[in-house]
């Protein structure tokens, strides 16, 4: 239970920092997506179920603060959380490149998916060039944030690890 609370607070903190501090940090008109980077870090550490749940929770919280159709951020983050969490066990390496590449590719995929969903729902027709720059720059900025996000998330996840249950 404490684990759920702490993970939830981590997501809330990410949303708060996103809307206050990071909203000001717009380079070339795009700011990093702190929340997404946190979700992907959790997915890398905790696996597909946790990735999907936290992606959905964080995305839904953000949807509530947005004017766009509710549920689209939740959907794109939950899919990416699940996919990133599912792929992680197949990658043998334990170097710093894993979270960096995971956050980079995951951010691009999630932001791209969100752009597509938004297009399908006929919301806010952004010019294609703008959509592409948002997707790519979000990937780059989030990767730059990895050294600041991944270690604290790993510490939180390790500290609140559930007791090991062997099921098979």
């Amino acid at each position: 239970m404490r684990r759920v609370l702490v993970f939830g607070l981590t997501l809330l903190t990410a949303v708060l920092l996103q809307t206050t501090v990071f909203a000001q940090l717009k380079i070339l008109g795009v700011s990093p997506d702190l929340l997404l980077a946190v979700v992907i870090s959790f997915a890398l550490l905790e696996g597909p179920s946790a990735g999907a749940v936290l992606g959905f929770a964080g995305g839904f919280l953000r949807d509530l603060l947005l004017d766009a159709p509710a549920g689209l951020t939740g959907l794109s983050y939950l899919v990416i959380g699940y996919v990133v969490g599912s792929i992680r066990p197949y990658i043998g390496s334990n170097t710093v490149f894993v979270p960096a590449a995971g956050v980079f590719l995951g951010s691009i995929a999630a932001t791209g998916l969100y752009e597509v969903l938004q297009g399908l729902f006929g919301q806010r027709p952004a010019p294609v060039s703008r959509a592409i720059s948002v997707v790519l720059l979000t990937g780059v900025y989030n990767t730059i944030l990895v050294p600041f996000i991944y270690p604290p998330v790993r510490r939180i996840a390790a500290f609140y690890k559930p007791e090991k249950v062997y099921q098979w």
Binding site: Q18, T19, V21, G29, S49, L65, P125, A126
Partner: protein, 287 residues
């Protein structure tokens, strides 16, 4: 191992079902439905926290927003750097209160302009929208202070946007530069009217201008007041930066640089007497 991955799939399926429910609810619900109540609740809970964090990180945020201009010209960089030094030096000397005081004085002067006549309410911008896709701002005044959806929001320079949703103590403003935002506008020199839409960080597009109109660079664009009464007439919006002719030759389009600096919004005025005209009142007047 098999059971474990099965469990993951079950979780995924449950969450996807939840998402589908939320999206459907959002599309089908009437104003005041459960999801909208959840959204208002979320703003009411998150806004005070944003306010606190915003206060703490304001100096850091100001610094970061200066960093955002690195992509532009070297000369501008040098100017920004000297500005930044000057500003941070000044910031150390002058307390936050004095700065706010100056803004408020500026707004008092605005009050003397025609377009800000009537009852106004000063509000502080406490947070920005949470994504790169929409351009909104959260104000620290809500329905308890009399703010209602559709009211116009201005700063000392000109139009900021309109109120989108209102919680008890907070409200959300759709900014002029959001692609969803469009407003009826008029050129001040010729009086020609058209519609101006936001395009994120790019200049606004002033469309459907008569092709024979002579448009000067730097000409001021103001609200026309025809926008079903949402905005009073004459609120400055921006200056014409360039003019294009539509491919069919039937109209002209002007690119307009907004007068309000949207990265540095602080104190704004809500025009309490603006907002959409009630349809009931219209039919009453004609009958």
């Amino acid at each position: 191992m098999y059971r474990k991955s099965n469990r993951h799939r079950l979780a995924l399926a449950a969450l996807l079902a939840a998402t589908a429910t939320v999206v459907t609810l959002d599309f089908r619900e009437n104003p005041g439905g459960p999801l909208q109540r959840a959204q208002n609740l979320a703003i009411s809970i998150v806004a005070p926290l944003q306010d606190g964090i915003g206060q703490i990180f304001r100096p850091a945020g100001d610094f970061l927003s200066s960093l955002g201009s690195i992509g532009s010209l070297k000369a501008e960089n040098a100017r920004l750097e000297s500005d930044l030094e000057r500003l941070t030096a000044r910031q150390r000397r002058i307390p936050e209160v004095l700065r706010e005081n100056a803004r408020l004085k500026e707004l008092v002067e605005v009050k003397e302009k025609d377009w800000a006549a009537g009852t106004t309410l000063a509000a502080r911008v406490i947070a920005n929208g949470p994504s790169n896709h929409e351009w909104t701002a959260i104000l620290d005044k809500g329905s308890a202070d009399g703010v209602a959806g559709g009211m116009a929001v201005v700063s000392a320079q000109g139009l900021v946007g309109r109120v989108l949703t209102v919680a008890v103590d907070y409200s959300k403003v759709l900014l002029l530069i959001d692609p969803q935002h469009s407003v009826g506008t008029r050129l001040t020199e010729t009086g020609e009217t058209g519609v101006t839409s936001g395009r994120s960080l790019e200049p606004l597009r002033f469309e459907f201008i008569d092709p024979n109109t002579v448009i000067k660079d730097g000409e001021t664009v103001v609200t026309s007041g025809y926008d079903r009464g949402v905005y009073p007439a004459g609120i400055p919006i921006g200056r014409v930066s360039s003019v294009q002719k539509a491919p069919d030759g039937l109209s002209k389009t002007a690119l307009v640089q907004p007068v309000v600096s949207f990265s540095r919004l602080d104190i704004v005025l809500v025009l309490m007497e603006s907002g959409p005209v009630e349809t009931g009142a219209v039919s009453e007047g004609s009958g």
